[in-house]
């Protein structure tokens, strides 16, 4: 077993130990796992099910129901683009097209070099100053295609 797996196992155990006793704990535990690892590894489903006295089908069912939970490791950075109406009214479709072309991937995909994951979201509550995107934790307003390129380049410089 590699060290990465050990770290993953530890993160899963920590999430269970910390939140397993809460009422209706499954989603809380899944959040803790994804917060720690960036995704919910397939091997954790069995362990979480066992610890919370649920079937694997129940855990799998919850993981796959919610758009936020990921079952694959994301890129180094995650770019979320809002596709909802308020951002559409300010031109987000052009931004979506541009982002997909620029990165060469579709939504819910990661670039081949593992650098960037592209996600679509429906509303981040930033509806008066769209198009809105979030790069990892940080929210941005008025994102034109040109600004999108500048933000990504700036991020790369910073890394």
């Amino acid at each position: 077993m590699t060290s990465v797996d050990t770290a993953e196992l530890q993160a899963v155990e920590a999430a269970i130990a910390r939140h397993g006793h809460e009422p209706g704990p499954l989603i809380v535990v899944l959040h803790a796992v994804q917060d720690a690892l960036g995704y919910i590894p397939e091997h954790s489903v069995r362990r979480i099910a066992e610890a919370l006295n649920l079937s694997r089908a129940e855990v799998h069912g919850v993981v796959t129901f919610y758009h936020y939970f990921r079952t694959h490791k994301p890129g180094v950075r995650t770019v979320q683009i809002c596709r909802a109406e308020a951002c559409q009214a300010r031109g987000c479709q052009a931004l979506e097209r541009h982002a997909r072309e620029k990165l060469g991937i579709d939504f819910h995909e990661t670039t081949a070099d593992g650098a960037t994951s592209l996600e679509m979201v429906f509303c981040m509550g930033n509806c008066a100053t769209g198009p809105a995107i979030r790069i990892d934790g940080r929210l941005y307003s008025h994102v034109t295609p040109e600004r999108f390129d500048a933000l990504l380049a700036h991020q790369e410089d910073a890394q």
Partner: protein, 507 residues
């Protein structure tokens, strides 16, 4: 005096407020991070305290900070970015801020600031009343559910109060997924104690000892602000085993959602708090009778709960005296999309859409004519210019086949493609459907196909008839509002913009 106020609100942050705050700090200023006043075109809006009130500058960039200091910002010096006394700004002055009275004024992380601005007066009043009296006050205020369904809040509370069960819950629906809405977010980020106070009053009223705020994962700043405020309220004795020495217990926790729009539906939200798939429950039983973990549960929107403190503080009549008809009190309208001056407008019910769009919103941001507005989120109807004189009132909107919903107003200019927007409504419904009922799960995908066929000229008259039948099926056959209301944007777009639903020539 050397103190400036800079919003920490996420829209302000997205426009560079953190950099502005850092620049002032670097110059030796004490920076207080507040919520946003909701005048987003002026963000980042920097304020300084003067004898006459707070004086604003905006929109300020980090590069402007040195110039502002040179212009003697500490003494409200003149500068091209000067706005004047912020509370005299017409956008703000003409509003009737009851729920949002502390918005942008207080430090959302500070319990003492909340108390200094009249916080917890509502809870103090409630603690001198019986549960029945509190519920009666909320009923008498005329408050109706601000999440969109507009069900009388007091009636819901009464049902929970009347259940002879010891274990009850208060849940707050903060899964504000409607595009064009951010009122809940503003409260949670900018004045979270108001929501906490409202939930505590609800718990004391109906005899619930545990509350949950179900907040969207897309709102990380809200989650953080709520957690800080809950910890402070607990430390201050406003939450916990003995609320304000009353001997009554009320605990509060935040539950983080996971990106499913349908979890804004109340039974789906309860499933999600229980850690399950967010599939809609069949009603009855009502959540007020069998809700979270099968126990009687209040499910209210953030805005409804955040309106409770002022009702208890100032009395039912004070709140009820605002508004028109059966829509009492104020509504937080959120100006979004293609508008020059987007932001938050809290007004008594009865203000017209036209006043909101032009007097406040300043018309479209693009400078082109406003073609349509979608009111009430992705399941709300598209309202054409000919109906802009409709007053914001639950019944008046229902009469034109539209809804007020959660008060989000998304403006589109004349470049909007109404058939594409109608198709998007189906696409969104398909993506977000919980899958439990067939009309929503299958009908949404079929709806998008039918619009494609229609626009491609494939037997267009038959497609139109089919679309009409499909909408009727969704309307009447869906378990919840997601499938049941998706026809609203579709049918309103078809009704008001029929020319756009004709076969299109391929380019």
């Amino acid at each position: 005096m050397n103190r400036v106020y800079v919003p920490k609100d996420s829209t302000a942050q997205s426009l560079g407020a953190d950099e502005v705050a850092a620049a002032f700090s670097a110059q030796g200023f004490e920076v207080i991070r507040t919520g946003s006043r909701g005048l987003f075109w002026l963000e980042p809006l920097v304020e300084i305290e003067t004898a006459a009130g707070r004086f604003g500058y905006g929109p300020v960039g980090a590069a402007d900070v040195e110039g502002l200091i040179a212009a003697d910002i500490e003494n409200a010096g003149s500068h091209p970015l000067a706005i004047g006394l912020i509370e005299e700004h017409p956008y703000l002055k003409s509003q009737q801020r009851l729920t949002f009275k502390r918005m942008g004024v207080v430090d959302p992380a500070s319990l003492s600031d909340y108390l200094a601005h009249g916080g917890y007066a509502g809870l103090r009043a409630a603690l001198s009343m019986t549960g029945g009296e509190i519920v009666q006050t909320v009923t008498d205020s005329g408050l109706r559910g601000r999440g969109g369904a507009a069900f009388p809040t007091g009636i819901k509370w009464k049902t929970v109060l009347d259940q002879a069960v010891t274990e009850k819950y208060v849940t707050c629906n903060a899964d504000e997924g409607d595009s064009g809405t951010f009122a809940d977010r503003l409260i949670m980020e900018g004045d979270p104690f108001t929501l906490i106070e409202g939930m505590t009053i609800a718990g004391i009223a109906v005899g619930a000892t545990q509350g949950f705020i179900y907040c969207r994962v897309e709102y990380p700043e809200s989650i953080a602000a709520l957690r800080i405020a809950i910890a402070a309220a607990k430390a201050g004795g406003y939450l916990g085993a003995d609320v304000c020495g009353s001997g009554k217990r009320f605990e509060l926790d935040v539950r983080v959602a996971a990106g499913a729009y349908v979890c804004g539906e109340e039974t789906s939200m309860l499933q999600s708090i229980e850690g399950k798939r967010g599939e809609v429950r069949v009603r009855p039983p009502l959540p007020a009778i069998e809700g979270l973990f099968g126990k009687p549960t209040i499910v209210n929107n953030v805005m409804s709960l955040a309106s409770v403190p002022v009702i208890l503080e100032k009395g039912a009549a004070h709140y009820r005296d605002f508004g028109m008809g059966r829509s009492r009190g104020t509504i937080a309208l959120q100006l979004a999309g293609n508008l020059k001056r987007g932001g938050l407008v809290e007004r008594a019910f009865g203000v017209t859409l036209r006043e909101i769009l032009y007097d406040y919103g300043g018309g479209s941001a693009s400078g082109r004519p406003i073609k349509a507005v979608q009111v009430g989120g992705p399941l709300g109807a598209y309202v054409p210019e000919s109906q802009f004189d409709t007053p914001l009132d639950y019944e008046a909107f229902a009469a034109i086949g539209a809804l007020v919903g959660h008060g989000g107003i998304v403006a589109f200019d004349d470049t909007a493609d109404m058939a594409a927007l109608a198709r998007y409504a189906f696409e969104f419904c398909a993506y977000e459907s919980c899958g439990k009922c067939t009309p929503c799960r299958i009908g949404s995908t079929r709806g998008a196909n039918v619009i494609d066929n229609l626009l491609a000229g494939n037997q267009p008259e038959r497609q139109k008839a089919l679309l009409g039948e499909l909408c009727e099926t969704l309307l009447h056959g869906s378990l919840c509002g997601l499938g049941g209301m998706t026809p609203f944007p579709v049918q309103s777009a078809m009704k008001h913009f029929p020319d756009e639903f004709e076969p299109r020539k391929r380019h």
